[in-house]
Amino acid sequence: MASIKLSGVHKHYRNNVHALKGVDLDIPPGQFLVILGPSGAGKSTLIRLLNGLETPSEGRVVIDGIELNKRNLRSVRTKVGMVFQQFNLVDRLNVMTNVLSGRLGKRSWFTSSLFLFPRTDLELAHRALARVGLVDKAWVRADQLSGGQQQRVGIARALAQEPALILADEPVASLDPVTSTEIMGLLREICDEQGISVVANLHQLDYARDYAHRIIGLNNGRIVFDGPPDQLDSFAEARIYGRSANTRKEARHDLVLAHA
């Protein structure tokens, strides 16, 4: 169970990009939250703030009453699983080792560098693999699996952390529609059954409507929509995906240049 609180969060990047412009957000435990928004709206930045892959330029990120800072980063990360668009498995290691690497945050560098884990960790990884339905692939090398299977291993790695929260940064952007619904369904089941909060970035409105408890719309670094899926009407969509007059002009200008 994890409750997350963002207050007054700004993020400036070094190249003068102002990715988040004052985000306030409360996520209660056990919620399946989907973040929607056009490319460059700050979705990834928002997700990556929640496990300290990015640090806010202003404002606070508080998880279970603990404000994220450099010193508690590792201990907070052990409780936050992350699933990636590109899966980010190590393709030359077998599935089991990839899942076991979810335990690394809690293990000493010395024994784990020798690839030694307590038996309880192996059981945890075994259970995680059973949860995603890939027990039979435990000793297969990760690069032998299909994209959907690799994403399942990614989810199993997150589960092996025994997380209170799973972050999913465009988890289905590299997968076909059928596999995508399987992966989204799996994440939702994990959320419902184990009470693990899920925060996911998506590009597909349908998946957001089908799987989210709550949808956040980001545009140009600000939250422009916050509500349950049934409130996501065409007005809300326009607000989330609409461009300001200024940016539209810029886009047309780019097109002319490309043809020149």
Binding site: R92, T97, S101
Partner: protein, 266 residues
């Protein structure tokens, strides 16, 4: 509508960039020509040289294999030298390469220092290094091992570091986000991701060191090279011929084995 294309006024093309290649090519050919004149390289000296070489090579036509056991054990010593040199190079680069990889180095200064150290190792020719080490610690295989180890650590370290830099950033990020530390990130994302390149590079270095180790014997670093140099200086061309044959055969064999192994890894 079509006529629009023809009546439309075409903007002028930008000025054509200047082409400097013919000038450079002429200058380089001229420089090479002058060098040849200055060094008195001409067809006549070349032919004389070939004749001299032919005469010299004819002294090696009756290899004497009567001491083959000794040659083989000397060759074994040379191989051992190459092997241990490669082990030293591997250990040095295994420890230092992550610090010299831009994405894993704890600090830009550390990165620079490690990379310059690798450059320094590479810049030092192992023959010269062996010569210095032989005068410093005396004759025998140890200076040869150290010379090979230090100079190839430069190569291997640079190769490893560059491979580690090419690993997709997401893999390191995935490990960071489970709360893994530096060593764990290396052992679970860095090294396994480049395992194949690592093995290939290490075999290549071993291969090179076998060839180099035979030469290092010439400056007194032990092994078959030292025996060969003694045989040549005492005009024992038959023995020298036998040793050269043993060397060539061994090097070809090692070459073949490592090529086969590297192919298996693909």
């Amino acid at each position: 509508m079509r006529s629009d294309i023809h009546t439309e006024k075409l903007p002028a093309l930008p000025g054509k960039p200047k082409e400097w290649l013919p000038l450079w090519a002429t200058l380089i050919v001229a420089a090479v020509w002058f060098m040849a004149i200055d060094l008195e390289i001409n067809l006549q000296t070349l032919i004389w040289g070939v004749q001299d070489m032919g005469e010299f090579i004819s002294r090696f036509t009756s290899p004497d294999f009567s001491r083959w056991a000794q040659y083989l054990s000397l060759m074994g010593a040379t191989l051992a030298m190459a092997f241990w040199g490669s082990v030293i190079a591997f250990l040095i680069s295994f420890v230092l390469a992550p610090l010299g990889a831009r994405n894993l180095s704890p600090h830009p200064v550390v990165y620079r220092v490690v990379r310059e150290f690798f450059n320094l190792c590479r810049a030092m020719p192992d023959l010269l290094l062996a010569l210095i080490l032989v005068s410093a610690i005396g004759l025998g295989p140890l200076p040869g091992i150290l010379a090979l180890g230090i100079s190839t650590a430069g190569f291997l370290g640079k190769f490893f570091a560059e491979s580690l830099e090419r690993v997709p950033a997401g893999r390191y990020e995935a490990l960071a986000s489970v709360g893994a530390g530096y060593m764990q990130t290396l052992m679970y994302a860095g090294w396994p991701s480049i395992l194949r390149e690592m093995t290939g590079y290490t075999l290549f270095i071993l291969d090179r060191n076998v060839r180099m180790a035979s030469v290092l014997g010439l400056v007194g670093a032990g092994g078959i090279g030292t025996a060969l140099s003694t045989a040549l200086r005492t005009f024992n061309y038959d023995r020298a011929a036998a040793m050269i044959l043993v060397m060539v055969a061994t090097i070809l064999l090692i070459d073949f084995i490592s090529a086969w192994l590297r192919k298996r890894l693909q």
